[in-house]
């Protein structure tokens, strides 16, 4: 079976890597051949993350490429779309460019529809506010990373909705044997993410400072901008650069993994990927009770939920003082990953979803 994947980014973009590209080898083993076409490649992302911004002509060139690609997809058994084919292009135009008679599935791991329906610009809201709902309604299947996204698809009248969590390759993470701290090593509260989400950690500064005073806990931030360290004042902060190869090793050095979030429509659409990474490494997690975090943490009992500075402070303090509990929670997290949040368990499901969508239901 031949599937054309239209992803937004290349491997450097977390969503594309995790939602689709990492599945390709397993799908191939299942007899599903996927040809990926990216809208924005690594070079584009590097410039963007480096703060150079977008060049309009570059974006136009990429859109033209994608539009041409769409015209050539008549032979595919199925199109696998990430969010939409052409961001910020109205539905009628995008729909007109899509090849007739080829079913598509569309995948969401973020509330991208809020780019449009919650946009500050009236024109965007007017022109695009319901675009994603239409994309969802016309898909053979909508694949959603969490319940919030699935609810949107349901309200949009999607024909079929499948919840597939964002997963890790369980084999890439090993559980460290260490259960208590070696002599003299201070405990590490760790966070992994990208510059776009680092602000949430900064909000926790008072609680984290208290942990430093009470337990000597250090903060390690993987993937944040190096300048962020200086904004924490006295608190010792280590910022490690992110790379796909080193992330598992970096998390292995954590004692607790955290995922603070503010409550908002965007945050409810998130898929809790960093929690799943911490869990894969057998680390206990502490997270804000927002969106899918509740299901992951409370549902699998692999950590604690904390709301507000006082609760964060109390929860972190309790866990830092109790290595046995940290270990037990970490094991449960790892088990949840092996059972549900891993490439190994979700790849066969995804294969089945794609196959039946191509068959027409």
């Amino acid at each position: 079976m031949k599937i054309t994947l239209l992803s937004k980014y290349s491997r450097l973009g977390a969503s594309s890597r995790l939602r689709s590209l990492q599945f390709l080898p397993s799908l191939k083993q299942n007899g599903i051949h996927v040809t990926p076409y990216v809208l924005f490649d690594d070079a584009y992302l590097k410039r963007l993350y480096g703060g150079e911004g977008r060049s309009l002509s570059d974006v136009a060139r990429r859109y033209t490429q994608r539009a041409r690609r769409l015209r050539r997809l008549k032979q595919a058994d199925l199109i696998w779309l990430e969010y939409e084919a052409l961001p910020y292009v109205p539905y009628w135009l995008e729909h007109g460019l899509m090849p007739r008679g080829v079913p598509y599935v569309v995948d969401y791991d973020d509330a991208v529809f809020h780019h449009y329906d919650l946009s500050s610009r009236r024109l965007v809201r007017w022109l695009l506010g319901r675009k994603i709902d239409k994309v969802m309604a016309n898909a053979a299947a909508v694949i959603c990373g969490n319940g919030y996204l699935a609810e949107r698809a349901r309200n949009a009248g999607a024909k079929r909705i499948e919840r597939v969590p964002t997963v890790v390759d369980a084999d890439r993470y090993a559980i460290a044997e260490r259960t208590s701290l070696e002599e003299g090593r201070s405990p590490v509260i760790g966070w992994i993410g990208s510059p776009s989400t680092q602000g949430y950690v900064l909000e926790l500064q008072p609680a984290l400072e208290a942990m430093y005073r009470e337990h000597g806990a250090r903060l390690v931030l993987v993937g944040a901008q190096p300048e962020l360290a200086s904004r924490f004042g006295e608190l010792p902060v280590e910022v490690l650069p992110w790379s796909e190869e080193s992330e598992a090793e970096a998390i292995a050095g954590f004692d607790i993994g955290i995922m603070p979030l503010l409550d908002g429509p965007w945050e409810r659409g998130k898929c809790g990927y960093k929690l799943i990474q911490y869990m894969a490494a057998g680390k206990p997690v502490v997270a804000s009770p927002v969106g899918v975090n509740v299901e992951i943490v409370a549902g699998w009992r692999c950590g604690r939920l904390a709301d507000g500075q006082a609760q964060w402070q109390q929860t972190l303090s309790e866990l830092l003082a109790d290595p046995a509990e940290r270990h037990a929670l970490g094991l449960k997290g790892r088990q949840a990953v092996e059972q549900h949040y891993s490439l190994q368990t979700q790849a066969p499901r995804l294969a089945e979803i794609l196959r039946s969508a191509a068959r027409g239901g």
Partner: protein, 677 residues
């Protein structure tokens, strides 16, 4: 497989947001039962919320999404389970309603709803074959109906957030479910406990039977004002019931006793060959219908009679090798995996021996209260949880050989009790009592030592591993006043549970749980009692919680109404024949496997609990038996418990099972912190 939860309030819901937040708390608590999706539905004015968690590879939504509405608009349902014959039921619905009914999808949930609209609830359930727990809201009548499958494969708890009184059921007047606040229900107690108004008070009345059998049996639950819906029954609740704080009694839509009686009155299968063929036909059909799945499917294979037979029948259904799984232990005494491998090789399955270590089982011990949110102390829960977890790495659905023993007479007691009683009853009770005392004069471990030395001269099937314990059981047997008492004693893990309680026990003899039944001979009576009690309260609870903790669906082909009917048409003397239990199943198996692969002593899923408590679990045990810990449950007699522990440590008896029950209770208390009245 899935989980359900919900609530019915005495007053209308405050808001939709409140309903959503509350049901989310409840369903998140049972995420493991269905991690793939969640749904809920509320009728604010009626104070009703239904929630659902789903485990599936394909969610054919919105057609398959739950809670689901019936096409007629009258019903909304949260459904946990599988209806194996749902396509046949759908055809019947079509027969009645023709093309008038518009089908939206292919799910059994939709079939059920259409059938409810056609025939009503009770009639529909009678037509369905499957395992299920149902919460059905009738929008027109404003009633909530809860229902459970025939044998109790899928669990369903129901009770008040502020429950009071012991919900023992069994038709006793003062024993109905009472309490205040919203009525809660769910697949597991965790879901009820997650409700913000939950106040669960420990039902100390449940403890005596818990310590006796190692599980909270019957309709009772460990909490006051919370009950289990009995197998084969349904319960219809109105808001007036919730406001009054008292639930009506459940109504049986199917009864194992009645079904057994009907089968016994039908034409009996006197001819052994005919009996074997009838079972082959019924069980084969049951296996076939349970192999329908759109997800990877396999089977547990221990190498014993029941699982081997199920696998043999599965293999007949398909060209491709069936995937089978067994668990191999690093402790050779408990390792059955080589038997399973031999059987698998002969049947040509794709077999995998999952390697488990004692360490893995031991690591699981602290997690048990999480899996079993009601105290549960059948130590084979550990290997069952392990094999489920390891199997889930490969398949989503597994068939098992459970219930073969209860239907076809597989427990040693089915053979021994009638024989013994036949001889014993000639002796006057005082004589028997003194004989019993004499047998008890030697401690079980001495007997075991004798068996180790002298056992080599005995034929294989008589080399019993727990010889001493069995002899002590025999002593107790001698002291029994009636055959019912004898059975009750043999079925107990602790014959004197009240000795561990601070207050005097109920004084109720154990046999009170097992009522005498006219026209059942002693073997038939035992089989029925095991089906109604041990299987429902222990075996099926163990399998459901262990498998659902790993999001694995287990299907049990023996638990099928046709198989049940066939089993009960076979006279007891054919079930137990040539001094062997499960004679019919063995004959059927011999048609597929050489005898030598099967003839060996029954091992079961055992673990070396005795040695573990003295060894690797000693610290865990000591800590749980500390004064501080025992103080949390003042209804236990702390000094009696500690005396039992000391006796076990010194090897003065086999008290591991009895201690295990106490330890699981304490560990459960620590995890869930019930209110102690």
């Amino acid at each position: 497989m899935c989980g359900i939860a919900g609530l019915l309030q005495p007053a209308p819901l405050r808001s939709n947001e409140y309903a959503q937040a509350t049901i989310e708390c409840m369903t998140v608590a049972i995420t493991h039962r269905g991690p793939d999706s969640a749904g809920h539905w509320a009728e604010e004015g009626a104070g009703l919320v239904l929630g659902h968690r789903r485990l599936s590879i394909l969610d054919l939504s919105p057609a398959g999404h739950q809670p689901m509405h019936s096409a007629c608009g009258r019903y909304v349902m949260a459904f946990n389970g599988e209806i194996y014959n749902h396509l046949a039921v759908r055809r019947e619905v079509r027969g009645v309603r023709g093309e008038e009914h518009q089908w939206r999808g292919h799910s059994d949930t939709e079939t059920l709803l259409a059938a409810f609209s056609t025939w009503g609830v009770e009639e529909t359930l009678k037509r369905c074959v499957g395992m299920f727990a149902i919460a059905l809201w009738n929008r027109k009548e404003q009633t909530l109906t809860l229902a459970r499958d025939r044998f109790g494969e899928k669990p369903l708890y129901v009770g008040f957030a502020q429950g009071c009184g012991f919900a023992q059921g069994a038709g006793e007047d003062e024993a109905s479910v009472t309490g205040r606040g919203p009525l809660l229900f769910g697949s597991e107690l965790k879901a009820l406990m997650a409700h913000p108004e939950w106040r669960g008070i420990l039902a100390s009345e449940a403890l005596e039977d818990y310590l006796r059998f190692g599980c909270v049996g019957g309709e009772a639950s460990i909490f006051q004002g919370v009950a289990k819906l009995p197998p084969g029954s349904m319960l219809t609740i109105t808001r007036a019931d919730v406001q009054a704080g008292r639930l009506p009694a459940p109504v049986a839509w199917w009864s194992a006793e009645q079904a057994a009686r009907q089968a016994m009155q039908a034409e009996p299968l006197h001819d052994p060959e005919a009996a074997v063929s009838a079972v082959e036909q019924a069980l084969g059909q049951s296996v076939k219908s349970r192999m329908q799945a759109d997800v990877p499917l396999g089977a547990f294979l221990s190498g014993g009679v029941d699982s081997s037979l199920i696998v043999a029948l599965m293999q007949r259904q398909t060209e491709r090798p069936v995937r089978t799984f067994s668990v191999g232990f690093d402790d050779a005494r408990y390792d059955e995996s080589s038997h399973a491998e031999a059987v698998a090789k002969h049947l040509g399955t794709e077999h995998l021996t999952l390697k488990a270590t004692s360490r893995m089982a031991l690591d699981l011990v602290p997690q048990l209260p999480e899996l079993y949110d009601e105290p549960f102390a059948d130590s084979s829960q550990l290997p069952t949880a392990l094999v489920s977890r390891l199997t889930r790495e490969h398949v989503t659905v597994a068939l098992s050989g459970d219930a073969g023993d209860e239907l076809f007479g597989g427990y040693n007691r089915h053979l021994w009790v009638p024989r013994l009683w036949h001889r014993l009853r000639r002796l006057p009770l005082p004589v028997r009592r003194s004989l019993g005392a004499a047998l008890k004069a030697i401690s079980p471990h001495r007997y075991d030592a004798l068996m180790r030395r002298g056992g080599k001269v005995l034929p294989k099937r008589l080399r019993l591993r727990t010889f001493g314990e069995k002899l002590h059981k025999l002593a107790a047997v001698l002291e029994s006043a009636s055959e019912r008492a004898l059975f009750a004693g043999v079925a107990s893990m602790n014959r004197e549970p009240a000795s561990l309680l601070a207050e005097p026990g109920s004084g109720r003899p154990a046999e009170a749980l097992f009522p005498a039944l006219a026209r059942f001979d002693s073997v038939e009576w035992m089989l029925l009692m095991d089906t109604l009690h041990y299987m429902v309260d222990d075996v099926l609870v163990k399998v459901d919680r262990a498998s659902m903790a790993s999001s694995l669906e287990v299907r049990v082909p023996f638990l099928d109404p046709e198989v049940f009917d066939t089993a009960w048409r076979i006279p007891a003397d054919i079930k137990l024949r040539d001094g062997q239990g499960k004679w019919v199943l063995r004959q059927l198996l011999y048609r597929n496997l050489p005898r030598e692969l099967i003839e060996r002593p029954k091992m079961g899923f055992a673990i070396p609990l005795d040695a573990w408590l003295r060894g690797p679990l000693r610290d865990w045990t000591e800590e749980l038996l500390s004064s501080a810990s025992l103080k949390e449950l003042p209804m236990l007699d702390a000094s009696a418990v500690r005396r039992l522990w000391q006796a076990h440590l010194k090897g003065q008896g086999h008290y591991a099972q009895q201690l295990w029950a106490v330890l699981q209770l304490l560990a459960w208390q620590r995890r869930w912190k019930p209110n102690v009245a």
